[in-house]
Symmetry: C2
DNA sequence: CACAAATTTAGGTCGGACCTAGTAAGATGG
DNA sequence: CCATCTTACTAGGTCCGACCTAAATTTGTG
C-alpha cells in the first residue's frame, strides 16, 4: 500500500473515531458534521468526501454486512440456500460476529436513539436481501427465489434485533438465548425452505 | 363535518393535487416544497403543517396501507394469520386495491425515479410488519410471532413489487400474472405457517 | 357580539448534501 | 533529482428540507 493510500486511510479512521466518540457522548443527532470535522481537525468537505452520508460515519462495516448472506450461499453451492444461511449463522454466532449484531452497549444505545440511524440499518438489511436474491436468481426473477431471500434475511434481521435487545438489557446469557431463538426461527421455516 | 374541517381538508387536497401534478411533471426531487406551496397558493409553512415530510405529499394512503394486514388478522380471529392474510390478499386483488400497489404508470414511474420515495415506501412495508407483529404478539414477544409477521409482510411486499413491475411494463394480464405469483408465494410458505 | 380555538401566514434558523476552484503533498518519468 | 501529473484535501460557498415563533385570520361558541 502506497504512502498516499496509508494517509488516506489514516484520515478516514481519524474522522471515524472522532465521530464515534462524539456520537456516543452526545447522540448522533446532537452532533453536526462541522463538529466532527473540527474534532478530527480536517475540513468539513473532507468528512463528506470520505463518508457520503452522515450515517456512513457509524456503519463502517456496511459492505461486509450486506454481502454476507449472498457469500454464504455462493460458498456452499451443494447445500440449499436455507441450510447455507442457517449453518453460517450458527458458525458466526460462536464467533460473536459483528455481522450478527454483536457490539458494545453504548453503540447499540446510540444507534437506537436515532431514527435516522435505525432507518439506515433497515436499509442495510434490505440491501442484504437484494444481494441474496441476486445470488439466488435465475435472471428473469422467479418469485420463489426472491421470497426465499426475503424470508432468510428476515430471520437474520429478527435475530439481529434479538442480539441488540439482549445487549441493551445487559444480558449475560446472550449467546445461549440467541441460539434458542435462532433454532426456533429456522425450525419454523424449514418445512417451507429446507 | 364542520366548515372548519371542510376547509382544512380542501386546503390539504389542494396542496396534495398541486404537488402530485408537479412531481409527475418534473420528478419528486426536481420540485421544492416552496414550489408546491406557490402552486397551491399557500404559505410554505402550510404545506409543512399538513405533511410532516415531503414524502407524505406522495403517500397519502400511508395509514390504511400500514394497518391493513393487522386488521385482516384481527377481523378473522378464527383462522390462522396465514390464511387471513392470504385470503385477504386474493380478495383485494379482485378489487384492484391500491393497498396492493395498483396505481397509474406515471405514479409508479415517478416513485421509482426517486431514491427518497423508494426508501419511504420500504419504511411503510416495515411499519406494516410492526403493526402485524403487534397484532400477533403475546406480550413478551415470541420470536415465532415476529417471524410470521415478517414472512407474511415480505410476501405482500414482493407481490407489491410485482404489481409495479407489470404496471410499469404496461402489461395487460396484470391481475392474472399476479394471482399466479401470489399462489406460488403463499404456497411456498404454507408448510411453515399454515 | 365577544371571546376562544383552530388554522394559516411571514420570516426566519439550522444542518446535511452538494459544488467549484484552488492548494498541498505523494507518485512518476525523463 | 527535478518537473510534472495525480490525488487528497481545503475554503467558502449554494440549496433545500425540517423546524421554530409570533402574529394574523378564520371559524365555532357562550
Amino acid at each position: 500500500m502506497s504512502l498516499r493510500q496509508q494517509k488516506k486511510l489514516e484520515t478516514r479512521q481519524n474522522i471515524s473515531h472522532a465521530a464515534t466518540r462524539l456520537f456516543i457522548a452526545r447522540g448522533f443527532d446532537g452532533v453536526t458534521i462541522a463538529e466532527v470535522a473540527e474534532a478530527a481537525r480536517v475540513a468539513k468537505m473532507t468528512v463528506t468526501n470520505h463518508f457520503g452520508r452522515k450515517e456512513d460515519l457509524v456503519f463502517d462495516i456496511r459492505n461486509d454486512f450486506v454481502d454476507w448472506p449472498a457469500k454464504l450461499v455462493q460458498q456452499a453451492p451443494s447445500s440449499t440456500p436455507f441450510a447455507a444461511v442457517r449453518d453460517g449463522y450458527f458458525a458466526a454466532l460462536d464467533g460473536r460476529s459483528a455481522l450478527l449484531g454483536f457490539a458494545g452497549i453504548e453503540f447499540v444505545g446510540m444507534v437506537r436513539a436515532s431514527v435516522t440511524l435505525m432507518a439506515a440499518l433497515t436499509q442495510m438489511h434490505l440491501d442484504r436481501e437484494q444481494q441474496l436474491a441476486a445470488a439466488l436468481l435465475t435472471p428473469g426473477g422467479d418469485i420463489l427465489a426472491r421470497a426465499t431471500a426475503a424470508h432468510l434475511t428476515s430471520i437474520l434481521r429478527l435475530l439481529f434485533d434479538e442480539v441488540w435487545d439482549l445487549t441493551y438489557a445487559g444480558d449475560e446469557d446472550l449467546v445461549t438465548k440467541v441460539r434458542e431463538a435462532a433454532t426456533k426461527a429456522f425450525g419454523q421455516l424449514e418445512p417451507a425452505l429446507g
